[in-house]
Amino acid sequence: MANLFAGVGTSHVPGIGAAVDHDKTQLPYWKPLFDGYGPAREWMEREKPDVVIIVYNDHASAFSLELIPTFAMGVAAEFQPADEGYGPRQVPVVEGHPELAWHICESLIMDEFDMTIANKMPVDHGLTVPLSIMCGQPEAWPCKVIPLAVNVIQYPQPRGSRCFALGKAIRAAVDSFDEDLKVAVWGTGGMSHQLQGERAGFVNEPFDTAFLNDLTADKERLINIGHTEYMREAGSEGAELVMWLIMLGALDKDAKEVYRHYHVPASSTAAGLIILENS
């Protein structure tokens, strides 16, 4: 049977990807951030998940205001890096896992989560930057990926409680997949940041620290953070953190923190990373 063994929460700042792509990770600005990614990469190499479900948001790449799916799961065999205006990132094509992805979609919809199913979905920095953070620059990504795109740009984004419940349903779906696969879920985006307006550059380290703590200490509090609280306390773009709650919902109740890293700034964002493992 498939075994969902761990979750990762990580920021997906485009600048982090650019630093990797343009060989800047050892510059003084970026080094402290990437030093902290070292142990996460070692963990990834040691654990070798077969499939990673990456919860991310599309930033006006595959989707736009023309069509705004709240939850869209990619079931294709591969996903191309998107052109976000610079030309596509020169990173490996992302290989999917159609059988597991379809199984999860079917299970979720029967479970009353009305998913959008995507056969063609170019993936932007929201998905490829976490891969760069966790895997560096391999010839091919070391795992299959099931993209789960969440709308967090158009208000209202899904509530934290709904995201957590979706995570639980994903777990049930993975648990019932009849193939020996090691599966991880990554929740991406955040942490506190605001890219827009006169308040651009807003960062709230106490909020972020409490968020990281409560992924294990007080899930109930995190699940109940509302839209306004995210925007006010974590910055207008900090609401991306609901995507971490899908990852959290997919884990055991008593999942343990095994690694954490936090650094300000990555571009205009507070960057966080956490690894949680089921016992």
Binding site: G15, Y29, H59, A60, S61, S64, L65, E66, A82, D83, E84, G85, Y86, G87, I153, Q154, Y155, P156, S192, Q194, L195, Q196, G197, E198, R199, A200, G201, F202, V203, N204, E205, P206, F207, H227, T228, M231, R232, E233, S236, E237, V264, P265, S267, S268, A270
Partner: protein, 129 residues
Amino acid sequence: MRQDRPYSNIPGTYVLDPQHSMQGYELNMFCMSLNKPKNRDKFRLDEAAYLDDFPLTKEQRKAVLSRDWLGLLQLGGNIYYTFKLAIFDRRNMQYVGGAMSGVSEQEFTDMMIAGGRPVEGNLYTSEEK
């Protein structure tokens, strides 16, 4: 008139809510069009002529042409879309962040390195200096 919302008193923040989305749809979709290399070439050739294909308001059109980064948000733009125009200009997030908050790219970058815009004084419009 904008409805009063629980988040209306967050300072310097333009939420892409239903009203904002209605106001900015065409503007944001213009920005979206710059994802395509062919469109970027066309826009580079003649910005004003390219904009003729999009039913923007006079104010939106002006804000695009003059790169009024804050104005774009006030006219319905969303940063993930308007930033595509910044990418087109080869500007980074710190430049645009500075332009929206009235400081230079360097000052904005320095603020981020020092830990970002502080929480204190920035949670409620009522506590703005």
